[in-house]
Structure formats: structure tokens, C-alpha cells
Symmetry: C2
Subunit: 132 residues, 2 copies
């Protein structure tokens, strides 16, 4: 079993463990944003997972995508494997809408902003309920 | 069967059709960049594909990822489903390295630049050979 990189521990919060991935809530009030982290050691790219895990990852991306779309009332998701800064394999699932602060550009062109403690707890509780 | 959106026809070139996706080469000399477009009608999100196609998409992403890593000599890929501007489902597979023009940031923070005709043809021929 791998450890969650400390960058994630500082900037995101545990929501739930699925069979393969930990779901974490990324602390950026500009976009509803989840991160899926496969709990496998020393993996930096999807092609390094075994084929069973690759399929499981796709299934978990779809499962989380559907809940995020419903919960945050959007049909538009950005699903991204970047990992230039933190190499540990992780997938961003970000709910977008036409009024958000970087639409139609990438989320990476605007600076992030943390939630207030109250808003963070509200979102986390909403997410934990949805993923129960 | 769907049609390729005209934005892609202007900015990318056909490489090969896989079982599900068309592989296209995106014309931006700043990054080696492929686009996978599932040949299915009216699909804007991976969760709208049927489950067989979702698994096929993952397999084709992995297949293309491995070839791109080898061909462009990198272990670092960005794999992104964005689609804010062009809704037709498409996946960017971008080879990154520490000397590229936006490292370690996202490719979306720098402006694209077209290849010369000669460089474009050289890359296309290299890709068509690799995906034969």
C-alpha cells in the first residue's frame, strides 16, 4: 500500500476509499474539485498500473464523475492526469460551469483560493454523504 | 459514426483509427501532443460512453501512452479530458519534459505555435510509422 504524498495532505481532505483509489476533496473554492489517488506503490502513470487496475481506475473515474455532476449540478467535467509537480499518480475531477472564474480556459490559469473552515466542512459533509 | 469537429480538422492531423478512437496529431511545436477522439455520436463526457467503450477508451489511452513515451523519450505524460471549448469528447495525450516551455505548469498557460510544414510532415510520418 502506498502513502499519500504530503502535498495532497496539506491541500486536500479525505472523503472515501474506493477499491482502488482514495477520493480526496481539493481545497479550492473556485471549483468543486476531487482527486482520485490509486493506492498502489511507486506508480506515476496510468500505463504502469496492471491492466485490472487500469480498468478499475476507469470505473472509479466514471463512478465519481456521475456523482460530481449530480452533486454540483453540471454536465461539464475536466478529468486530468497531470502530475508534473507531484509525481504520485492522481486524477483531478473538476466540475466546471460557464460562470466559474476561468471558463472556458483551464483551471490552471487562475490562482487557487482556500475555503473558509465552515464552507470546507459543509462541502466535506455533503461529499461524504454522497459517497456513502 | 460521428464527425470530427471542425476545430480539430483545422488544428490537428489524422494519424490512425483505432477500434474506438481516431488518433490525431495536434499542431503545436511546443509539445508532442496527440488527441484521441472516440468515434461515437453526441458524446461529451466519458461517463456517457457505454461501459464496453469506457474500457476500450482506457485501453487505447494506455496503448497510445506507451508509444508516445517511447517515441518522444519521456516518462511524463499529461492525459486530459477538458472539452470546455470543443464539447465533442476528446482526450489530450501530451508528452512533457523538464525543458519544455511551460514545465512544471500546465500546457494551457503558454500560447501554442504551429510547426513548419517540413517539421509537421516529419512528425506525422514518424507517428504513422509508430502506429502502423
Amino acid at each position: 500500500m502506498n502513502k499519500i504524498n504530503k502535498n495532497f495532505l496539506k491541500s486536500s481532505y479525505h472523503v472515501k476509499n474506493l477499491k482502488l483509489c482514495s477520493i480526496r476533496f481539493h481545497d479550492n473554492l473556485k471549483f468543486p474539485w476531487l482527486i482520485l489517488i490509486p493506492r498502489r506503490k511507486n506508480i506515476t502513470d496510468m500505463s504502469e498500473l496492471n491492466s485490472k487496475d487500469q480498468i478499475l481506475l476507469m470505473k472509479e473515474i466514471i463512478y465519481v464523475s456521475k456523482i460530481v455532476k449530480k452533486l454540483f449540478k453540471t454536465s461539464k467535467l475536466n478529468v486530468e492526469k497531470i502530475g508534473n509537480v507531484v509525481p504520485q499518480l492522481h486524477i483531478h475531477i473538476i466540475a466546471r460551469n460557464k460562470n466559474d472564474s476561468s471558463w472556458p480556459l483551464s483551471v490552471w490559469v487562475v490562482k487557487g483560493k482556500s475555503y473558509s473552515k465552515a464552507a470546507l466542512e459543509k462541502n466535506l459533509s455533503k461529499l461524504k454523504k454522497a459517497f456513502k
